[in-house]
């Protein structure tokens, strides 16, 4: 195993633990009232974002969901910018105007988390259309949850993407739940059959195995980049927490909840890395690094400024010359 490959794997590891540790930190900050509004954590699902992010280039674009922290971080949003945003600071990536459900960084091709279920899909589709019209080989990725499959725009987008052969990856994070209901009570079509009806290739990956996700995404993205048209990738994973932070998820069978840690993508990846000859203390020092960076980001955000109303008040249209 080459050093370069190891470095790439370690980058992915760093990404995955970043998402995990950021969200655990958010959970505490939220409980302490330092993160306002409401947040949807992707704890347990980090492998999907980290795996996908490891494959994408900065000119690729992603559109994300209400559960978008991982997608934002793995597309490269700096944790300082991120915490400052969620902690409602002027220094946040969206100047505190968006918060958790609207984290975005346009210069990194991160087109935003989104508070409207399903909207990420046609927005990513539009981005793919832009890539196609500009004749670049960039790829657009639509992250969406299994619950979003019931929204009409998903189906309209499957059709459009197939019809126009757009460079679009439909990336479903199938965690089995949509809010307080199991998704099988909401949506009936198996995604593979549905994709097949539109003649779109479908693949399934173990969404708790970051290397599996990485290679599945890489395969899809390579095919799309080569001009092969849209693809659907379904990553099977688990939502550990309630729908939103603070939701005690009493509606969930306790057996299901108990088994969740067995699917933890992090120890699993750690074991694989150790097997590849990477020493445990390397991993430990990465975690320590990330931890320090998070604490620094939180401190920085705490020291930041609350956005001022006077500046935000009259800013609805683009100031000429400002964009």
């Amino acid at each position: 195993m080459s050093h370069q490959m190891n470095d790439e794997l370690l980058d992915m590891y760093r990404q995955m633990v970043t998402i995990r540790m950021v969200e655990l930190r958010l959970s505490r900050l939220f409980a302490d009232g330092e993160v306002p509004g409401f947040i949807h954590l992707s704890l347990g699902q980090e492998a999907v974002a980290a795996g996908a992010g490891s494959v994408l280039r900065s000119d690729d674009t992603v559109a994300s969901t209400h559960r978008g922290h991982g997608h934002a971080l793995s597309k490269g949003i700096a944790i300082d910018d991120f915490f400052a945003e969620l902690m409602a600071r002027e220094e946040g990536i969206c100047r505190g105007r968006g918060g958790s459900m609207h984290v975005a960084n346009l210069s990194l091709g991160m087109l935003g988390a989104n508070a409207i279920v399903g909207a990420s899909i046609p927005i990513a589709l539009g981005s793919a259309l832009a890539h196609q019209l500009r004749k670049t080989d960039s790829v657009a990725v639509a992250f969406f949850g299994d619950g979003a499959m019931a929204e009409g725009v998903f189906h309209e987008s499957l059709n459009l993407a197939a019809l126009w052969q757009l460079p679009l990856l439909f990336l479903c994070e199938n965690n089995g739940w949509a809010e307080f209901s199991p998704t099988h009570k909401q949506f009936i079509a198996p995604l593979d059959k549905l994709a097949a009806a539109f003649d779109i290739p479908h693949a399934k990956a173990d969404g708790n195995d970051v290397m599996a996700v990485q290679s599945a995404v890489a395969k899809c993205v390579d095919g799309i980049r080569a001009g092969g048209g849209p693809q659907v990738l379904e990553c099977m994973t688990h939502r550990w927490r309630g729908h939103y932070e603070g939701d005690p998820q009493k509606y969930r069978p306790s057996e299901e909840l108990e088994g969740l840690e067995d699917h933890d993508p992090i120890p699993r990846f750690e074991a694989a890395l150790v097997e590849k000859g990477i020493e445990a203390n390397v991993l430990e020092s990465i975690r320590a690094d990330v931890d320090a960076a998070i604490e620094a980001a939180v401190e920085k955000a705490r020291a930041g400024n609350s956005p001022e109303w006077e500046r935000a008040r009259n800013d609805v249209y683009t100031q000429v010359g400002a964009v």
Partner: protein, 335 residues
């Protein structure tokens, strides 16, 4: 934290706003077997704000149904069910998601009776909460009631307290025409008396919340409470406000507003929705016309500024019209 008004029993004279809605639903379902309730996670889960809690076990999952995340189809299904003789009550989780139902509500529900020559009516209700104050951000806080008030065929209600929530919802469900029933997230946990008489609140009647001679303040929804606070402050400095809670936005109680204006000769309209092209515009325009001779000062409006609802508490706090703003506007009007 949002989503967590823990709702207990709801059989008492003093109810929370959410309980009052729950009671209205339960009574209507009890009284009329054609009433049914559907929406996302409204059955076992009782809705994200707990409003429908307990109904599923009482009425069965046939008459209170969880739906997939398919708002456009749900709203049109309500139209189809209403045209087939049922009285559907649809919950749309946040008013921002009404954007997905506009064909159903505007092109179908609002028009069916008229465009079919009066053969039928469309007795459906869409319940949906608007409003901010919980830092839910730009796509979970909008107040879009002015859109619906602009559409012939729809009725638009917005209760500010448990009694009205209860009574108006019962009136909405028994009304033959489609009703957009606008609730308010910030009010769900609010407690208040729900007297027997509340069961028959007429659609289209404003409620006088406070009597005064110096200026009229017209408002609706959660802002009623902000206005009340402002009115107290104003009273301290000798300005007595006559406060009207519209309750019904379409139709709205023109004669009550005019009567108040005739008394005070000054009118301030306050709401949480964006001021520009908002509900207040219609009231101001109409009163500026039929009440022209009564006016001792220009009619004043106070609504949200022309920006999306921001997330940061430091911004959202300023975004919503506060008691201070109302006091200042009222003083200005009476100066």
């Amino acid at each position: 934290m949002m989503f967590t008004p823990r709702l207990e029993l709801f059989d008492m004279a003093e109810l929370r706003y959410a309980h009052a809605i729950n009671r209205a639903l339960a009574e209507c379902m009890e009284e009329d077997s054609t009433v049914f309730v559907f929406g996302e996670d409204v059955a076992d889960a009782g809705g994200p704000f707990g409003v429908t809690r307990g109904l599923a076990s009482r009425f069965g999952e046939d008459r209170i149904r969880d739906t997939p995340i398919s708002e456009a189809t749900m709203a049109n299904a309500a139209v189809g069910a209403a045209l087939t003789g049922l009285r559907p009550v649809l919950e749309i989780m946040f008013m921002d998601f009404m954007t997905l139902t506009m064909d159903a509500v505007v092109n179908q529900a609002a028009k069916a009776r008229y465009m079919f020559g009066g053969q039928t009516s469309v007795p459906m209700v869409v319940r949906t909460p608007h409003g901010g104050g919980i830092n839910a951000g730009p796509q979970h806080s909008q107040c879009l009631e002015a859109w619906f008030a602009h559409i012939p065929g729809l009725k638009v209600l917005c209760p500010s307290n448990p009694a009205d929530a209860y009574g108006l919802l019962k009136s909405a469900i028994t009304d033959p025409d489609p009703v957009i029933f606008v609730e308010n997230k910030a009010l769900y946990a609010m407690k208040g008396e729900v007297p027997e008489e509340a069961a028959s609140i007429e659609i289209g009647k404003a409620l006088q919340v406070r009597k005064g001679e110096d200026l009229s303040i017209v408002t609706y929804g959660a802002t009623v409470h902000t206005v009340k606070r402002a009115a107290e402050i104003l009273a301290d400095s000798g300005i007595e406000a006559d406060v009207l809670d519209l309750r019904s936005i379409q139709p709205w109680d023109e004669s009550a507003v005019l009567a108040s204006l005739r008394k005070t000769h000054r009118l301030l309209i306050v709401h949480e929705a964006v001021e520009a092209f908002g509900v207040g515009a219609e009231i101001a325009a109409r009163m500026g016309d039929i009440g022209f001779d009564e006016l001792d000062a220009p009619i004043s409006r106070l609504g949200a500024p022309f920006v999306p609802v921001p997330f940061a508490p430091s911004l959202e706090q300023q975004y919503q019209p506060g008691a201070d703003d109302i006091v200042a506007a009222a003083r200005n009007l009476c100066a």
